[in-house]
Symmetry: C2
Subunit: 215 residues, 2 copies
DNA sequence: CAACTCAGTCAACAGTTGTTCACTAAATAT
DNA sequence: ATATTTAGTGAACAACTGTTGACTGAGTTG
């Protein structure tokens, strides 16, 4: 039967290759430790067939970044939608985000692992993505009347701080019990508090001139 | 001549193995992508000789964590000493720390790369080290009269936020020009501001009950 | 001086890796 | 109906990997 035309079927095994790479990474190893042959073996095709889809493992990695990036954007979209409708913005945002991370844990695991990881190309791509997020958030923050006392450079630093805080929390959100410490708050709750610290700090920010003389 | 006794010479090539691993990593790849043979080749010994020093590449990695950890502790010691003597605590602390990072860039590069990187054993060891730093800082913060209004759990979250902020800034401190963006502040200056945001937030922290009703 | 310890050598092993080439057969195009 | 495109096959390649065992010779010890 020809229910699946050729192009369709091709894209299907291409996706299988991407998923296989993520799955192999989930078992502990980093992306650059996943071999081309492992990936094809997992999909069930012969190694040479890999080249019909990607010239390189690095190309596979870049495609992965693109895909994971869109997952992340969807998460942001969800968080933003809720932000407008609800009170307790931080609490609700973090809850929604944390749920989304758990649902797409392989994607976010990839992001967390490879943001400083092995392949230079992948690392660079993730960095560029992160920078886009920061720019977006920067524009967002600039619209808030509560933060109108900040300068343009302050927005940039603040946005960077928020985004990187979220990124570093990803491993804990994904593996809630890996870093076992007895009587502390849940990862999501901790992230909440961290964002609160930062935003309270932004609210009381007095500009670069007033260095430390007042506190 | 027997200027170098045997144990001394052994420890010397052991150190050469550790340095070789760091050097090979500095050329872009992650630790788990560095092979046993590459390391021995760089040192100038035969692969089999590796086993006289480490049972495993993982063991080499753990030794590396220990060594880098002590470098980091020395940096903290320097920062602390200065903190007591100078005004403008954050500015001076960051400057000293940033200089130390540049001086030992290979060590801090290892830390930044492998904190979420490939080898599970190394990742876990770095995580434990990070947790130690957080605990130390927690105790430190608890001594500050400016932060006496915080609860015990608040100290933990705050310390974690500070330490992780420093860790995520490491790549930028090491490679000041990799993330080229035109007209923004230097990485060290950005880190300064980030810490300021956080500490101002801590100063105005009103406890967990006052969620968002006041701002 | 003799006995011993042991860091490093040498050669070989079984696996795995990325990449190549000519090929098949089904889907598409003419 | 015929010709073309192309996702996937199968075999082979050179290179590299971690690990082994028996060895050598300088450093140490009694």
């Amino acid at each position: 039967m020809t229910l699946l035309i050729r192009a369709e079927k091709k894209q299907q095994t291409r996706q299988a290759l991407l998923d296989a790479a993520l799955t192999l990474m989930a078992d502990g190893q980093g992306f650059s430790a996943v071999s081309l042959r492992e990936v094809t073996r997992q999909v069930g095709i012969v190694p040479a067939a890999f080249y019909r889809h990607f010239p390189d493992m690095d190309a596979l990695g870049l495609a992965l970044v693109e895909q994971v990036s869109s997952t992340f954007r969807e998460a942001i979209r969800l968080v933003r939608r809720n932000e407008l409708e609800q009170y307790g913005a931080i609490h609700a945002s973090v809850r929604i985000f944390a749920e989304y991370v758990v649902a797409y844990r392989q994607h976010f695991l990839f992001l967390a692992r490879e943001q400083y990881g092995g392949s230079a190309a992948v690392r660079q791509a993730i960095n560029a993505m992160q920078r886009d997020f920061i720019t977006d958030l920067e524009a967002d923050l600039a619209l808030s009347p509560r933060l109108s006392h900040l300068g343009p450079e302050d927005y940039e630093v603040l946005a960077s701080l928020v985004v990187k805080t979220v990124f570093t929390t990803l491993p804990e959100l994904i593996n809630p019990h890996e870093s076992d410490q007895p009587d502390s708050r849940s990862p999501a709750h901790q992230l909440e508090d961290k964002l609160r610290f930062i935003l309270i700090g932004a609210k009381h920010w007095r500009g670069i001139k007033a260095r430390t003389d007042g506190d």
